[in-house]
């Protein structure tokens, strides 16, 4: 069936066929040349199979890299897939039952992961935005941005190793510095159950705050000047300007930053493995580290798959929640704009 309205009508194509298609029903309304409809032979509606074949390559790639492993993960989580040479046996929800009822490390891992994520995100957002405000429009902005981006360019495993040496109580420079300043004693920051998590958070904040700064800086360039100027005319100072104009305009950018970092934290493993290995006394045994241990140290792949599924599910749910949280102020502003 031919499209009758301009919305779905391929005007470009119709225009090129203009000369040849003398059959086109052309009308002149108030001096404007319009076309009511195009014959089907000039703008045919593709069949459903046409769309399917166009999308097929993408579907195949997506299935290979995403869907197949996902269903395989689900399959493994319902089976006893262990290190032995024997066949994998179906165990129903036994792996999940074990996690939820008997596995202390699983719950400890969740608790630590949430703490870790909350600490990293809040520190990174505060510091990242602060740095962006300082850097925005400064004389040496480009040079300084390049300099502060350097930690991000380092592979996380290397960052973990570097900080491992910096924290070391025998020869670590940072340890020596902090000890000389009276902040630390002879115990290194990762050698105590009460400070080891802080040690990990510092590394993450050091490495990833620049990303927040970069995204925030990009957002600040998009803040409408007229709004800022109007606010200043109304007598607003720098601080009020920031909270009333800049920050609301940064919401979509901060949403992207927070989502990226939150998902990164939920699969964070490199630095923890190199720096603490989850210790001491499980003080840094966040869920991804425990998942790695179960899967690739103990080779309990069925149990590991069950942990991975819970992690995936919670990541998706929290991601949706975050989007909704940030959509709130966004849509409110949009509503206000349309009302105004």
């Amino acid at each position: 069936m031919a499209a009758r309205t301009g919305g779905r009508f391929d005007l470009g194509r119709a225009a090129t066929a203009d000369a040849a298609a003398a059959v086109l029903p052309v009308r002149h309304v108030a001096g404007v040349r319009t076309i009511d409809y195009a014959p089907a032979r000039l703008n045919p509606q593709p069949s459903r199979s046409y769309y399917f074949w166009m999308m097929a390559p993408a579907i195949v790639v997506l299935a290979a890299i995403s869907l197949y492993p996902f269903f395989w993960l689900v399959w493994m989580s319902l089976h006893n897939v262990e290190v032995g040479a024997g066949p994998d046996t179906f165990v129903g929800f036994a792996n999940f039952e074990r996690l939820f009822t008997r596995d202390r490390k699983f719950w400890n891992g969740w608790s630590l992961l949430l703490q870790y994520s909350a600490m990293c995100l809040s520190l990174q957002i505060v510091l990242g935005v602060l740095l962006a405000v300082i850097l925005n429009g400064s004389r040496y902005e480009k040079i300084l941005v390049t300099v502060i981006l350097m930690p991000m360019m380092m592979a996380p495993v290397i960052a973990g190793l570097v900080w491992y040496y910096l924290y070391n109580s025998t020869f670590g420079w940072y340890h020596w510095l902090l000890q000389s300043a009276g902040i630390l004693g002879e115990t290194s920051i990762v050698g105590s159950t009460s400070t080891a998590m802080l040690g990990l958070v510092i590394v993450d904040v050091w490495q990833w705050t620049p990303l927040i700064t970069l995204i925030t800086l990009a957002g600040m360039k998009r803040v409408p000047r007229d709004q800022l100027e109007a606010n200043m005319v109304d007598g607003a100072g720098e601080l009020r300007n920031f909270f009333a104009i800049v920050l609301p305009n940064l919401y979509p950018f901060l949403l992207i930053a927070i989502l990226l970092r939150f998902m990164d934290n939920f699969r964070f493993i490199d630095v923890a493995l190199t720096l603490t290995g989850g210790g001491p006394a499980d003080a840094t045994n966040i869920l991804p580290v425990y998942l790695f241990d179960v899967s690739f140290q103990y080779f309990k792949l069925g149990r590991g798959a069950a942990i991975a599924l819970t992690l995936l599910l919670v990541t998706i749910l929290l991601g949706m929640l975050l989007v909704r949280l940030f959509e709130g102020p966004q849509s409110r502003r949009a509503d206000m704009g349309s009302e105004g």
């Binding site: 290190v83 025998t170 050698g191 080779f299």
Partner: protein, 508 residues
Amino acid sequence: MFRVPRDPLYRSISRRRFLELGGGAATALGAGSIAVGLNSVITRRPVYAASSDDAKWKQYAGSKLVFMSENTPPSFAIRDNLKPFYDLTGIEVEILTDDLPVVQQKVGIDLRSGKADFHLNYVQDKPIGAPFADFYADLMRFAGDDTLPQDPEGVADEAWFENFLTACGRMYSGERIIAFPYDCAVACTFYRQDLFEKYSKDFEADHGYRLEFTPDTTWKQLYEFAAFFKKLREAGQDVPYGYAQHHGSFAWTTQLDIQRMLFAHGRWIDFDIDDKLGSKTPGPTNWGDETSVFIMEKFREQAEVCHPDNLANGTLQLNTVYQAGQIAMQVQYHEFAASIEDENTSRAAGGKTAYAACPKGEPSWIKNGGPAVNGCNCGIGGIGINANASEDLQRAAYIFAVWATSRDTQFNVLKGVGGTPTRKSVLDIPEVQAARQRPTSMPNALTFEAVYDIGIRDPNFVLGPKIPEANEYHQIILTEVQKCVSGKQTAEEACLAIKEQVDDLHDL
């Protein structure tokens, strides 16, 4: 940038053409690497092999093998000096080395997935041998094959140090040998003899006996030594801490650390099984009994007089702490003697360090009625063959295993970077015998009395537990011991938590 002559004889090349050529070359190189570099090659000449003894070594000339090993001295030494093997056999061997936990993951994935990317594996007894025993070829099949070259000393138990072949080669039964002893790390005591001599009189005045290490020195005395050094330090004297334990992130070393102390007191073991063979169904654990709770408490008390960064230091870091002159004693693996005696990197070098057997059990601490022994444990690193590999690859790999564990190879490694021999005959070599006394060019030989004459011999030797879930078991021990040492739970709570989790691990 470059000067171009006006009338060049060569034909200029367009940027597009240059990019095309570059892309083509990169693709070809990548494909070539995948096709050749990562794959094994096997070339077999069975008829030739039967012609002479020399031909037996050369029957797989042109083949290529991959050996995944821990980054231990023998692997470094052999990797750097593979030419004699290539000349002897014509087989090319690629040796990949990494930290033990990484090796464990890589070989585990390779074996479990039915692949043979690594034909030869470093089979460390508990972390790799115990979980993956079913995936290794039975080496006795090749040892009895007269179409393959064999070591003139043979590969039976008598050829190796006491318990070594069983430790890494026999898993759960005596029927199969899955690995030959390739290297070993045996625990012994390293202590600062210079400091012990300096403070001996003061110590004797306080405690009524000399500050010295003998084979009869007990764990109670070690605690008193450590407390003495700590007291001196707190009094403002420039002395190191007395002692430090093995913690850090590699769980196995913590399990070994407390196991030594437990075994010394009545030969306590984790499960009621044959400790040397291990078991796939070990039954309920002995953790939580009177001995374990008592010794856990002593271990916690010991931690109180240790170096303050006790919980951060794994085996390697602990050795660094000792090298830096920050502790006066450590129970350490004898392979580290070479690094301690290196004057370029160690403050404990130059004759300051002496070596003794692991401390003995304190009779008054024994609760199970057993004897007091110098509880000594170890890691025996074997060389095993991936059973997923083809028959010919396995046979070619066997040739390498025979060569790598031969007397001459082990002697060369000992001379070179500080090896840890597993064949008895290496110790009979006059140069090695002479090296057991200072001055020596083979520092590891200074430990041989403590290790080979006392530590690895029964009744001092403890191995286990060899169980399929060894790695998870080690992690449980590490976590609960660290919680106890850091004051988060009592010794009894720690032992009961271990029991609960370990029994659950075995579905009990």
